[in-house]
Symmetry: C2
């Protein structure tokens, strides 16, 4: 059990290697030359990359609010802090940062080290009519950490990164009490000493936090069973403006509506998640993976459905459509690729993988020659590309190529139609908006017995200076076509501000009334992340 009484010394910038404008680590960004080379793969892309503005050159708005003396040690108003906390990491965020458009910068960045300090910041902000935007890893791709309202006296970005420790590990129940600001690698490193793992690996793993995952109902890497962080929660502690909400540590309960489920997905609008007891697992010791090819994507969809309904629960069941597979360098010939993985901490998995592969073959798939080999080439090629994707996206942004990824979920009866319809509609819109042929690819990231979560990637050459406007048009069309099919506006990227139109359409109206009432009860001053889930006017 770690000692939680002494907070670590505050750090004015705990992550000096982080890119202030783009994804992840600054030194992993592609060079100008690499950007240009990548751009040549997209006909119509710019010839030269957008320059990255130098931090000292940035014109930030005047700081409107100063913290009280007691909170001053937690606060920073330095240009690097304000600039890096202005946006998340959506495409439109990256473009605006490259444009040095930082009018929405927060006045202050607060880095509380204790829950008490979180409470103090909220108390001060409510009194001073200052909006508070909770900030974990800042990896939001939906405008979740960007203040866009105008009715507050000032804005504080509440950066939880100093609260990043595993405070307690219960090896008997296999659970740990973890602070909300812990980034993926930090919390896994602390759990590894107990030979345990949270085993939640979103693509943003390195640069997103437990609190952020919980607030946004994040999806992990694994394809079946516990796909969302929701299912891994034993209890949560949430600082709301009206007090701390702590649920009991329970493996299961039927006592009224689940308290945790109100805060899961609340995206910083109802409170700040300071810690949670999370369910852990033994580290997997047995792993096997295989690749199956399909000549027809619709045959592949049916096969994946059979696998999802088989009860065999593969850890990975990722279907790449022909465009996605080609982009990832897995195939070149118009085939769909199914990447299967099985894992277990306790028992060998080769038998289960063989059953899955056999089932896929029965449904028209062709196992690739290396099937069953843990070093399977296609799978590992794809995995490398997967982790590199956000950096490539930034490089494409610098080449004024528009990229948009959006994900959804839909029941199987509508999955094939949705796939066809979304690709068709988006191709048309891309053509209308950019004048060029773009690509619209798709993969299934998670599968369920009753449906699937398709993840679409749109790439098209944009016009320098008009990227955001073009992106916004494409985004709007994406939300519209999903809504037309009764598919969710987001499976795991959350709502933020960018998905509000789709979310407002899909949220049942009585539930909206209930949620607004809950918001007013918990955040009477209306300071928490205004504009996310609710209109800023709602206090």
């Amino acid at each position: 059990m770690a000692d939680s009484s002494t907070p670590p010394p505050p750090s004015s910038d705990a992550r000096p290697h982080r890119s202030w404008w783009g994804w992840g680590a600054a030194d992993k960004a592609l060079s100008d030359a690499e950007c240009a080379e990548l751009g040549r793969l997209v006909p119509g892309a710019a010839d030269t990359p957008r320059p990255i503005p130098a931090l000292p050159s940035l014109a930030l708005p005047r700081t409107r609010v100063e913290p009280p003396t007691a909170l001053a040690p937690l606060m920073s108003a330095t240009p690097p802090d304000r600039a890096s906390h202005t946006y998340g990491k959506a495409y439109r965020d990256v473009i605006r940062a490259l444009d040095a458009d930082l009018a929405a910068a927060p006045d202050q960045v607060a880095r509380p080290r204790t829950e008490r300090e979180v409470t103090q910041v909220l108390d001060w902000a409510a009194d001073a009519d200052v909006a508070v935007v909770p900030y974990g890893g800042g990896s939001s791709v939906v405008g979740g950490v960007e203040y866009r309202a105008d009715r507050h006296r000032g804005v504080v970005s509440l950066d939880l990164s100093s609260m990043d420790r595993v405070l307690e590990v219960d090896t008997v129940s296999r659970a740990a009490r973890i602070q909300g600001g812990a980034l993926g690698p930090a919390l896994e490193a602390q759990l590894r000493t107990h030979d345990l793992t949270l085993r939640h690996f979103p693509q943003s793993f390195e640069y997103s936090t437990l609190g952020g995952w919980l607030a946004t109902r994040a999806g992990g890497h694994y394809a079946t069973l516990h796909t969302h962080i929701d299912d891994l929660v034993e209890s949560m502690r949430v600082v709301t403006p009206v007090g701390v909400n702590e649920s009991l540590r329970l493996p299961g309960s039927g006592a009224g509506p689940s308290p945790d489920r109100l805060f899961l997905g609340s995206e910083g609008t109802l409170g700040v998640i300071t810690e949670a007891w999370m369910r852990l697992q033994d580290r997997p010791r047995h792993k096997a993976s295989a690749t199956v090819l399909f000549h027809d994507v619709h045959v592949a969809l049916k096969a994946v459905r059979a696998l999802a309904q088989s009860g065999l629960n593969p850890a990975n069941c990722r279907l790449l459509d022909p465009g996605e597979a080609a982009l990832a360098g897995v195939t070149g010939g118009g085939e769909s690729v199914l990447v299967l993985g099985v894992e277990s901490a306790h028992v060998p998995v080769d038998g289960r993988l063989a059953e899955l592969v056999a089932l896929a073959r029965d449904h028209g798939g062709t196992p690739s020659p290396s099937a069953g080999d843990a070093g399977d080439t296609a799978a590992s090629t794809w995995r490398s590309a997967f982790l590199r994707m956000p950096y490539l996206r930034d490089a494409l942004a610098r080449m004024s190529v528009i990229t948009e990824t959006f994900e959804t979920a839909v029941t199987w009866d509508r999955a094939a139609e949705l796939y066809t319809s979304v690709r068709g509609r988006l191709a048309t819109v891309v053509k209308e908006v950019t004048g060029a042929e773009g690509t619209v690819n798709c993969r299934l990231t998670h599968v369920y017995p009753d449906g699937a979560a398709p993840y679409f990637t749109v790439v098209a050459p944009g016009r320098r200076g008009a990227e955001v406007a073009m992106w916004d048009e494409i985004k709007a069309a994406a939300m519209e076509v999903l809504g037309d099919h009764g598919a969710t506006v987001t499976h795991h990227h959350a709502v933020g501000r960018d998905h509000r139109p789709g979310y407002d359409r899909q949220r049942p109206e009585p539930f909206a009334l209930a949620l607004r009432a809950a918001k007013a009860a918990l955040d009477p001053a209306g300071i928490l992340n205004p504009g996310v889930l609710f209109d800023p006017a709602t206090r």
Copy 2:
């Protein structure tokens, strides 16, 4: 797809065989002679059974409200209808019914046949200040369907039993749209024609409804994975006083807090669940079960934990402590009994069962000779007793024997201590209250990687005429000791009115504020199931 346009003709009593005072079917109740025989097993029990009051003799309070003409065809104020809808089936309900204490009888019993009629009843009730108590199968053991407030002009029991059909089956996604009033056997019979099953089998299966399961977050028969009905929900339709709430049919989503999770566990206080799309499964074709004995219950608890954390996910993993095992006639010699079951629709399960049995043996268990045999004697003996238990409970009530069952959930680190502490405390309280030695037995009904759900049974001779008072004292002590250990007041029986003290203690205060605000937004007149989850004064 069934035709949902023509409602069936209304029935003044759709279930003539139901017992008005006790559990289930009237003709399955024990005879006077059987009651007396059973009573002789409990030293100190009464010599003769309490008589069952004749329905015509019942003194019901005056009916205070009459429905408007348009709703009159749905309404009944006959003594059998009012008497049978006064209480649920808690021990204290049965005793009071036997006492012919029906002062709390509803004024009217409404049996809507369509969602529109549900809306009409709610509209009328809100205007007329009439409380509405949603009533599914009436199987609540926590006072969930009994009006106990006094501030309304009248009370209507809203019996959903005429809305009992499977309206639509999507065999591709394996899901069905089912009306809220469908009892377990009725919905399974309709699904069987598609070779599908909801596979949710609470002990109350025959006499509880889908809507009731959803409203109370019911627990099914299966020990691991999807233990609660919550996880089987794709979408719900809920009639609230301010409109119909319908969520999208989705296999998964991350768009804001889950709308369904607000209504799951709302126990009729926020709306009336008229239908839901439920996730189905292929019917299991492979089954195997085994029994493992343990000489020490604490060794057994550790073994069950190992099984729960093994990833093998047995369908059944029911640990009976020595008293429970003896009561069920499975053993006589002070051993604990672990009943294991494995099921699959697709693959043979003998291998998985063997792994589970081997793991139990490694942890100190002794597989019974018939292990692996699907007809395993101990398991089937116990299953028969399980389904008969509510009838035995009623017979014991007639012999003035006090019985109470309560269930909870707790993480593994506290499970052994909770087991010892609850048994010790309850034994003391039973002695204080009844003056006699009672028995306090326990089984684990559901297990999780991080904890277990213990289910306690208390049996003690009571004093005729004082049974309810004695039961109330024992119940209060049970809630207190659970609360002291941070265990939930209920794992799957729900809160109702009887569990309010424990629930009020465990519900975090900010969440209580949010929930009350949601209640006020959805039910501004405060007519829905007053006293459940919220104080009746909360409108």
